[in-house]
């Protein structure tokens, strides 16, 4: 019964038809706008998290990462068990892992470019640019953290939750990458960035958020099952992807402003709809 209720609730939520009038203006981005924006994104990113309004988020990420590091081996077992219970093959887990490896982002962004150029749609072009921008910006920080933290991936782990070698020898790092590159997850940051950019720019496509969050979840589990990441590698990856996507979206569009006129009004006027339709519109603005 509860299951049915949840299913109906989800259906209701997803079928809600949002007629989002485009509230933002999108200018056509240059071919390399995404690269030019990255230094500014980094500046904004390092400034924003330390503000008071983001304190809760920062605390949540820190605490959850800490707890997950403590229980990482058990969480990994749970993920493997889930995969066994659901009968996922190695190929299924591999496919889930590759949701976030950058090729999907390249493919989707290319589709947006194709559509945007062919139909002169700046929103599509901006979305593609923002995907590249946020994936590259988040990826830069992810790589920096990987090269500093030097954590072992699960499939080469020498301790139950993977050994950390802070500030590892960079030559060793590049010869034996999996022994150093687990923390944080770049895959999850790139899929998160793409989902956030698309959901922000296309709010009328109600399926993007549920489908996108499902993709992020599947990606996280897939990477644990293929042994490339621990659960605790994900919160910071998600936070980085989310934050850089928000920054890129904010820069890539301008809100349409309307001067607010407050007096209440009542109006009634004829309405002509195509194909010989005719109606009367009444509107009460409070």
């Amino acid at each position: 019964m509860i299951k049915k209720l949840i299913i109906y609730a989800v259906i209701g939520l997803l079928t809600g038809n949002t007629f989002a009038q485009q509230d933002y203006m999108y200018t056509r981005p240059g071919w390399f706008t995404f690269l030019k924006n990255i230094p500014g994104d980094m500046r904004d990113y390092t400034r924003d998290p330390l503000t008071k309004k983001n304190l809760w988020g920062l605390t949540a990420i820190t605490v959850s990462t800490g707890l997950m590091i403590y229980y990482d081996d058990k969480l990994l077992d749970a993920s493997n068990e889930l995969s066994d219970q659901l009968g996922w093959s190695e190929q299924t887990n591999w496919r889930m892992e590759h949701i976030g490896d950058g090729y999907l982002q390249l493919y989707v962004a290319s589709s947006l470019i194709g559509y945007g150029l062919y139909y002169n749609d700046n929103r599509a072009l901006q979305s593609a640019s923002q995907i590249f921008e946020s994936v590259f910006a988040a990826g830069t920080i992810v790589q920096l953290l990987k090269h500093i933290t030097g954590r072992e991936s699960p499939f080469v782990a020498t301790t139950p939750t993977g050994r950390w070698r802070f500030f590892p020898n960079q030559t060793d790092y590049h010869h034996r990458v999996p022994e150093f590159d687990a923390f944080p997850s770049g895959h999850i940051s790139s899929i998160t960035a793409m989902v956030v950019v698309l959901s922000e720019n296309y709010p009328e496509y109600t399926f993007i958020k549920p489908l996108g969050y499902l993709a992020i979840g599947l990606n996280a589990i897939g990477m644990m099952n293929t042994g490339v990441h621990w659960m605790s590698d994900h919160p910071i990856g998600i936070a980085l992807g989310y934050s850089f996507a928000k920054i890129a979206v904010k820069k890539g569009r301008t809100q349409i402003k309307t001067s607010i006129k407050t007096p209440p009004s009542f109006s009634i006027y004829p309405l002509f709809v195509s194909k010989d339709g005719f109606g009367i519109h009444m509107s009460l603005t409070l």
């Binding site: 038809n17 009038q21 203006m25 659901l86 290319s110 470019i113 194709g114 309307t258 006027y269 109606g279």
Partner: protein, 162 residues
């Protein structure tokens, strides 16, 4: 299997459409497509130009009808199947040299770009729905109110007119 069904289900549920705004001024014979930027008591500013509200004769909202669910399902399945086909094929052939990698990237870019154009061609082949608002005999205050409602999100019932 349940995952696939869930993914497909969620994909199909999303109902959406794009729309554009066109205005007819007292001086023009044809509607012009605009992207509104700012509305004041007297002027509607849009990208690259502006118009006095009292000079607007008519406003037309054009929306592309949503594509049928079956077409949407076929498109989505085809889109992601093509992606995974390319990805798996690529990993079978790996490892690559750097020049080969640029070739691999090009394949993904070309396939993605082509998919975007084809998608656009399909959705644009569906009929458009037009909703017109006759402003010709309306006082400026009312024009302003309606424009404001059109420009703000989903607040008035006429947005739902087919």
């Amino acid at each position: 299997m349940p995952i696939r069904i869930t993914v497909l289900f969620i994909l199909l549920m999303g109902s959406s459409f794009s729309q554009t705004m066109e205005i007819l001024s007292t001086e023009d014979a044809d509607y012009i497509k605009i992207t509104p930027v700012h509305l004041t008591d007297d002027f509607l500013f849009f990208q690259s130009d502006s118009i006095k509200i009292e000079e607007i004769n008519s406003v037309r909202m054009i929306k592309n009808n949503d594509i049928p669910i079956t077409i949407k399902a076929v498109l989505a399945t085809g889109y992601f199947s093509l992606f995974y086909y390319m990805l798996e094929y690529m990993y079978k052939e790996a490892p690559f040299t750097i020049p080969q990698f640029s070739g691999v990237f090009s394949v993904f870019i070309i396939a993605g770009t082509g998919a975007g154009i084809i998608y656009g061609k399909i959705i644009n082949s569906y009929p458009e729905g037009k909703t017109s608002y006759d402003f010709s005999t309306m006082p400026v205050e009312e024009k302003y109110t309606i424009l404001q409602q059109i420009l703000t999100k989903n607040k008035v019932p006429f947005h739902k007119t087919p």
